[in-house]
């Protein structure tokens, strides 16, 4: 008898436990998103149908699923933030979010999540916002499949595409970002992954790490950004299978490493950058199986770097493979392929019989005096370079690959 009453109670309570779906649209009773949010309870689904919604700042303060059908447009008309998420476990999916305000002081965003867990931001299209998606103090959240576009100019102040601050356990997957200050920005973010994103034509960096430890970024494309990618003041950052391409300019680098330690750079491609990798204050980094192709400088390793291992990389068609600013060498080079290597391999074991000094005399000269670049490819310089290769005098003689490969690695 007792059981029956339990079952009866369960059936009686069922409708109240069941989540509702509230439809929003011109042909539905609920016309406005704000009204729908007021009507909703935790666990409900809001289905917003195609149309233009100009409701200013929309605040989600309940645990709801917020779905757009046919990409409804949320337009903030250049005033403040578009969508603010202030509840846990909110899903935002399928919206076109446009025209946030542009202000220097309060950083308005397309979508901002405030101090929450389990936020899900899926498949939205953001256009012309100051910041794109901003995760502030969030954990266990996913930003996936969003397209974020803005139209920043060189002189103008603009925010970042995906900005993550003081967060943990984030997944940033398959987003496309362009025209922002930094495509993806991590500050005090730990244990997070950035996977399969495309970050192009951003004004400053395609990806920017500051004070973020134990993160990975894998299989991303960074192309044509103002200054490439920067990983600074971070520990244990893993960088796999990424492509760094066409980052040209005086202070532009494919990858800028500054004050970082214990990272692993594996199987990346550095193509057509002013400098492939620039390292300063970098220690215990392993650079393995990367392609450096057609860069001005393959790698610039400043004398402040130590205990880095550079192993099994291909250096192809770079103007300079390696450059440094001092005579101190605390890094090791082993078994790389250098297309400028002119040694021989008599025992045919695939490894050159004479060591290779990747640092050319001219690279050292241009580092000290940039205007000597004028003399590049002149007869005298070629002659000096050759003699320096045989008898190193200006270049540090311990800057050497003792086992240079005869054939490039198939990467």
């Amino acid at each position: 008898m007792k059981n029956v009453s339990y079952i009866a109670y369960f059936f009686f309570m069922l409708p109240t436990l069941m989540a509702n779906t509230i439809h929003v649209g011109t042909q539905y009773p609920v016309k406005s998103i704000r009204q729908a949010i007021t009507l909703s309870k935790d666990g409900d689904t809001l289905m917003v149908h195609k149309g233009l919604y100009r409701e200013g700042n929309i605040v989600i303060n309940k645990k709801i699923v917020f779905l757009g059908k046919g990409y409804p447009i949320l337009d903030a008309q250049k005033k403040g933030e578009v969508l603010s998420v202030k509840a846990d476990s909110v899903v935002v999916q399928g919206f076109r979010i446009i025209n946030s305000g542009f202000a220097a002081l309060d950083d308005p965003c397309g979508i901002k999540v405030y101090n929450r867990t389990f936020a899900r931001i899926y498949n939205n299209r953001l256009d012309n916002n100051f910041f794109g998606i901003y995760l502030q103090n969030c954990t266990n959240s996913i930003v996936k499949g969003n397209t974020i576009v803005s139209h920043g100019t060189q002189e103008q102040l603009i925010g970042n595409g995906i900005h993550c601050w003081k967060s943990d356990n984030l997944q940033i997957i398959g987003n496309t970002v362009s025209g922002h200050r930094d495509g993806i920005y991590f500050e005090f973010v730990t244990n997070s992954v950035i996977w399969r994103n495309i970050s192009t034509e951003n004004i400053r960096y395609g990806l920017h790490f500051m004070f973020s430890n134990d993160d990975s970024y894998i299989t991303n494309l960074f192309k044509n950004n103002g200054a490439g990618v920067a990983v600074m003041f971070s520990k244990s950052v893993k960088m796999f299978n990424n492509t760094f391409e066409e980052n040209w300019g005086d202070s532009a680098y494919g990858l800028l490493l500054k004050e970082i330690a214990d990272g692993y750079i594996f199987n990346n491609k550095f193509i057509k950058n002013t400098t492939g990798i620039y390292m300063e204050g970098t220690s215990r980094i392993k650079v393995e199986k990367n392609d450096f192709v057609s860069n001005g400088w393959g790698m610039k390793i400043q004398a402040s770097c130590m205990e880095n291992e550079i192993v099994n990389n291909n250096y192809l068609k770079n103007t300079f493979d390696i450059s440094t600013n001092g005579s101190l060498v605390l890094n090791t080079f082993n078994s790389n392929y250098w297309d400028k290597y002119e040694g021989y391999d008599l025992d045919k074991n695939g490894v050159g019989d004479v060591p290779y000094h990747p640092l050319s005399l001219f690279a050292v000269l241009t580092e000290k005096n940039a205007s000597t670049m004028l003399l590049y490819r002149s007869f005298m310089i070629t002659l000096l370079d050759k003699s320096e290769k045989v008898l190193p005098s200006i270049t540090p003689d311990n800057f050497v690959d003792k086992t240079p490969l005869m054939k490039s690695l198939p990467l």
Partner: protein, 142 residues
């Protein structure tokens, strides 16, 4: 007569080399001379001029102070900082009022901002929960 005129001319030309005027920061194109980051925000930037007239640019006041204190060889002529309330306007650092700490968030976490007038600084002090400092105090605080 001719000689003195020439001397005058030469001295004028030479004098104009080191004007002591700040050079504007080119946002998103100039890199910080201390941390190598591209300067993207004209509210936190700073600039330093040496006695010989060489300019160094910074994205954060802290970068400038770290840069200045790390070097004891080259004498400096002037320090400039960006006014927080104006976009990318450099003003002499000694004349500024600084706010440091609180909820201020600058590119390299020096977390200091500059104001031309004390009143403006005090207005923002409560808002950011920051400490009001003079240039000298700020300089020795890093």
């Amino acid at each position: 007569m001719k000689k003195s005129a020439l001397l005058l001319l030469v001295s004028i030309v030479l004098a104009s080399c080191v004007s002591g005027e700040p050079k504007p920061l080119q946002l998103n194109s100039d890199a910080c001379d201390f941390c190598k980051m591209t300067i993207a925000n004209g509210q936190y930037g700073a600039e330093l001029v040496t006695q010989k007239g060489r300019y160094y640019k910074f994205d954060d006041v802290a970068c400038m102070i770290h840069f200045a204190t790390s070097n004891t060889v080259v004498p400096y002529k002037a320090f400039f900082v960006c006014d927080y309330l104006m976009d990318n306007a450099l003003i002499p650092a000694e004349k500024c009022y600084f706010l440091k700490g609180g909820s201020i968030n600058s590119p390299m976490h020096g977390n200091a901002i500059a104001f031309t007038s004390k009143k403006e600084a005090q207005d923002y002090q409560a808002k950011y929960n920051a400490v009001l400092l003079s240039w000298k105090e700020l300089y020795s605080s890093y």
